[in-house]
Symmetry: C2
Subunit: 385 residues, 2 copies
């Protein structure tokens, strides 16, 4: 049984349910951010981020900063690209639009390669786009939270290295890190940014960014100073290096309690990284099969474009989210409404990540599928469908 | 008795000890950031920030954003001033230097009016500086955490309105909000930025910024777009307004658990705001008298320049922090070493804020003063002083 107060099960694409140990470790008494105990925990947590990304490269560098996942966009945009340089955004939904706006804020010239809703651009189109201009960086949303579309990170990275080897490969992994495979070194990525509250299973409030030696080099060889102060790689780099070397260091006060929670969840996750991806795939397949059985079509039409930590499903014609979500809530289950502006009223989103997936004793997924079946039937009946 | 695990008492100038209820409220089960329960809590917390600042102005606007206190500098520098405009920094130590660097990152022309260590610039000097150029904004550090110097916020604000009425008055209140009086409307301030982990008594991870109608107007009438994305007032303003009007809204995921903790501590604090300042003054006077009795001179020499939430004390000639801090730790008390680069090895800092001050049953302050007396005597004896 959970040590947490009774509550409805949160199965949206983040924040997600917490393991008891994670939540308990966050209730840590007050600590100095430069005291030996905390320095050790923070340093270990940075090393655990490397493990999470299956990275052993000594030039790669993790960052853990107080902030939302969105802050990672600023970290990329203010440090890895300069005013007037070109960025190619592989746009698979809401979050591609926003990342593009962030890049433009810092002066980048942004080209969007927009895929149809529920799909991703084929590699041939990406190749053609890459050959049109010299791009300082390319961004892709690994899983678009608004649609559940999965990008081909490995394929795009290989392509970039072949046709435009100096272009930095930047992955928005907010909705993928912890549930989708990422082999940072092997795939030769330059930056993956994420947040604590999705498949990582920690409360929200941490921006986590993994960078390659090539990315750090780009930040350090800028012709102009970084575009931000709080989101400056130059300001944070020595801090992260010092903490990982067990030396206290100060630029801004780290969120000590959240770092404890992250340490706990990353210790759990990194005990078996491939196993974690496997179980997320297995449960995702089960969810998608059950949805199909209920006659629900996914936004991500092609199987290779479907995320493994969430499922975005069109509702039957005649139903809107407000017809179904209350029926789910009545049964103790929270799903999310649609987010993609053009079709928001036509679909719902089911997040299946973290402890709800890895701890079958909780019964979260089976309960949710049963509740979905009942709530749908009820809604159809109410509408005479 | 505390429900927290036994630990040494943290009496540094932030983070500080937590009230049990604050820490417990942070252990909240997972919640959607757009669910009615959380929307209500976040909205109420914004309203409590107004109360904390004794503000009733409908045009004033509080912001609560995931980040360290430092992020508040970016919020000011990227929104309230434009490239090429002038900023006057009233510099009383380490944090004035850094705020100046942040302003320069976003293109401001920064003039520092530097006070001698342990002092603040007299109003006549500030007036002379204000008359030299047209300044878009003036910043002052209410309490410099590195030295314990208290600025005359009310006096400076009155002066600015008299001699340069359009200049925005920006207060770095990271080490003052919750322990020093601030009457936001009455003093006619434009921005006060702070963090959650000092006198507010919440774990670190929240950047809290209070802005005036005049400041919002300046942000909205910029000739150029804001200099940052995550720290953009334009991006956050509708979100804060919606939450306070009990409407869910999304720009970036708020740190739900920390917001619960902030709600709890602000509910406690705002039950009696003047009483809170009074008890901080009373306890500060007691600490300063005890320090004087031990022959310890304060960095902030003049009484009107002495903060009420911390005391920075020179050690006797011949002692460095490493001679005294371990003796304090042995007695269960944590103070901080010096931070001001030029004199860091000559002094220590005692933070007396929040629950250690307001809950005398804890005995934190008396225990700390007794431990300081013993640790000093021990250190002197060891050095043959």
């Amino acid at each position: 049984m959970s040590a947490q107060a009774p509550h409805n099960t949160l199965l949206i694409p983040g924040p997600i349910e917490f393991d008891d140990a994670v939540l308990q470790s966050m209730s840590h008494y007050a600590e100095s951010h430069v005291a030996p105990g905390f320095v050790k925990v923070f340093g270990e947590t940075l090393t655990l981020v490397r493990k999470l990304f299956q990275s052993t490269s000594p030039t790669a560098q993790p960052f853990i900063i107080s902030g939302s996942g969105t802050l990672g966009w600023d970290l990329v945009s203010a440090n890895l690209i300069e005013r007037g340089e070109n960025a190619l955004v592989l746009n698979t939904g809401y979050f591609g639009d926003s990342f593009g706006q962030c890049l433009e804020t810092y002066g980048a010239n942004v080209t969007h390669l927009k895929a149809p809703i529920g799909d991703r651009s084929p590699l041939e189109e990406v190749e053609a786009a890459l050959k049109e201009k010299s791009y300082k960086l390319i961004t892709l949303t690994h899983v678009d939270t608004s649609t559940g579309v999965l990008s081909d990170v490995k394929g795009v990275a290989q392509l970039v290295r072949r046709v435009s080897p100096d272009t930095l490969v930047v992955v928005d992994g907010v909705c993928s890190v912890g549930s989708e495979e990422i082999a940072f070194d092997e795939w030769d990525l330059d930056a993956v940014l994420t947040a604590s509250q999705k498949a990582i299973g920690c409360p929200p409030g941490l921006s986590i960014v993994m960078t390659s030696g090539r990315a750090i080099q780009a930040a350090q060889s800028r012709k102009t100073p970084p575009g931000a102060y709080y989101a400056s790689i130059a300001n944070w780099l020595p801090i992260m290096q010092n903490y990982e070397n067990n030396k206290p260091s100060y630029f801004a006060t780290p969120p000590t309690q959240l770092v404890h929670a992250l340490h706990t969840t990353l210790t759990q996750i990194t005990a078996d990284v491939p196993g974690r991806f496997a179980i997320h795939t297995e449960v995702s397949n089960k969810v998608k099969a059950a949805a199909a059985e209920l006659g629900l079509k996914q936004l991500a039409a092609r199987p290779e474009c479907q995320a493994h930590g969430m499922t975005a499903m069109y509702l039957p014609e005649g139903l809107v989210p407000a017809d179904v979500l209350p029926g789910l809530l009545k049964r103790g289950v929270i799903f999310a409404a649609g987010l993609h502006k053009e079709i928001a009223t036509k679909y719902i989103r089911f997040g299946h990540m973290g402890v709800s997936v890895t701890d079958p004793k909780r019964g979260d997924i089976d309960n949710a599928l049963a509740a979905l079946k009942e709530a749908l039937a009820e809604a159809k009946q109410a509408k005479g469908l």
